[in-house]
């Protein structure tokens, strides 16, 4: 087998233009965790099933374990949970998760709240069905989904009241 040739990439990460040299097989998840020390996104399954690795790519949630870093383009905008740390909507979501007791081991949560964030951006006042639908790609092994769904509904209600 020929030696892998590193590939030079440039893209926007959490609002800043960054550059990196990556092996052809490196995933976006491995890139943000290893080279940029952004460890919120987790590898649960590595095959698109659990959503623990969810990040926003051009404002859309994707599984970063299934995106090759080498295929990132200069026009691509990647936002990880760290990039939303000061975002009022994300803070509201995180508070609601805590208030509702929606977090147990926490492994799924970084991916889960990115999906919640995307939902509330697209549907500020979601129906229960929309809440379920927008989190169907995120698995949680311990909390169960009821409290998570309640937390998201609470965040939406709080937002409506301007809290």
């Amino acid at each position: 087998m020929p030696t892998p040739e590193p590939i030079h990439i440039r893209f926007s990460l959490n609002g800043k233009t960054v550059e990196a040299r990556v092996a052809p097989g490196l995933t976006l998840l491995e890139l943000v965790r290893r080279q940029f020390s952004l460890t919120a996104a987790k590898e649960g399954c590595g095959k698109g099933e659990c959503g623990a690795c969810t990040v926003l790519l051009n404002d859309q949630p994707v599984n970063s374990c299934l995106k090759l870093a080498a295929t990132l383009r200069p026009s691509d905008r990647v936002v990880t949970l760290e990039g939303l740390a000061d975002d009022p909507l994300m803070k509201r979501i995180q508070h609601s998760y805590v208030e509702e007791g929606a977090v147990q081991c926490g492994f799924c949560i970084p991916g889960m709240v990115v999906s919640s964030y995307h939902l509330l951006k697209v549907h500020p006042q979601p129906t229960p069905a929309e809440i379920k639908e927008f989190h169907s790609g995120n698995l949680c092994r311990c909390t169960g989904y009821t409290k998570i769904e309640q937390a998201v509904a609470k965040a939406a209600a709080a937002r409506k009241e301007g809290r």
Binding site: P2, P4, P24, G25, G46, L68, S136, G137
Partner: protein
């Protein structure tokens, strides 16, 4: 994925086709949701190179010469939200929306779903019910193949070395339709059985009906007998006719037993999906002109 040696970034279809011919270990890479999983699982030991198709301008949806042309690089999200598709092809919208979850649909492409050639690929029955034609580009030039003739077995297609799916061309007409699937759970599961129904108005108060079944045979299949029966009678079909069609659909299914579901169950469920799809379409009949 340490056994991946190179990723290529061609800027034209010709360049991509040449790369695929020159490098036998190369595979086209679209959204990667099938390819990366299989590569990581060690199911593609001979694949050393990926040819990234994202720079080939394959993400467009246009209406031209009586056809709606959907670029192979369109994601499920792009397909399901496009006004032209939403207005004309409800079965395809429903199919695209049932592929995986949000995260998957934002990456998974129509070309990848078809290129993967799984009998359980959800958009395949939808596209077949809409009489889609696959437009191919290869070292020998361009050609078009009816999608129904594109698959030769599970994971196998008529694609020649170096040949790529450029687009899907669907007759431009307003259709009514539905896509229903049965999986392990409601969202985010591979189909055990799936069914697409599309129909459009023809002369004499009738409708031309197309029915395709997924995951119940080595490739997606059409139910021609049920199609003929439904297309010959006035629309909507009587309860008696619908029941006859349902029996024909059940008979057309030739499921193989596998871990996902037993044979007889899948066959019966095909009939159930058909009845539900028909009900949905008749209920919505007024919106299809």
């Amino acid at each position: 994925m340490d056994n991946l040696a190179r990723v290529h970034f061609p800027s034209s279809l010709r360049e991509a086709a040449d790369l695929l011919v020159a490098r036998p270990g190369a595979r086209p890479l679209a959204g990667g949701t099938d390819l990366l999983v299989r590569h990581r699982n060690g199911q593609l030991p001979d694949v050393t190179d990926f040819v990234d198709l994202s720079g080939l301008d394959l993400q467009k949806i246009t209406a031209e010469d009586g056809r709606v042309v959907i670029g192979s690089g369109c994601t499920m999200t792009a397909v399901a939200t496009h006004p032209l598709i939403r207005e004309r092809f409800p079965a395809l919208v429903q199919g695209a929306l049932q592929v995986g979850a949000f995260q998957i649909r934002n990456a998974a492409t129509l070309g990848g779903n078809v290129g993967n050639a799984s009998p359980a690929g959800d958009t395949i029955p939808c596209l077949i019910s809409l009489e889609a034609e696959v437009r191919l580009f290869g070292p020998a030039g361009r050609r078009a193949v009816p999608l129904a003739d594109f698959f030769t077995g599970p994971g196998r297609t008529v694609l020649q070395p170096g040949e790529l799916i450029e687009a899907f061309a669907l007759p431009d007409r307003r259709t009514a339709g539905a896509f229903l699937k049965l999986g392990e759970r409601r969202a985010h599961a591979i189909s055990k059985v799936s069914l697409a129904l599309s129909c459009w108005e023809i002369a004499g108060g009738r409708r031309e009906v197309r029915l395709a079944l997924g995951a119940v045979a080595p490739t997606v299949i059409r139910c021609r007998k049920a199609e003929e029966l439904l297309s010959a009678a006035p629309w909507p079909p009587s309860a008696e006719l619908a029941d006859k069609a349902r029996r024909l659909v059940t008979e057309a299914a030739r499921p193989i037993d596998d871990l996902r579901s037993a044979k007889e169950y899948r066959r019966q469920m095909t009939g159930v999906l058909f009845a539900k799809a028909l009900e949905q379409v008749i209920g919505r009949g007024a919106s299809a002109r």
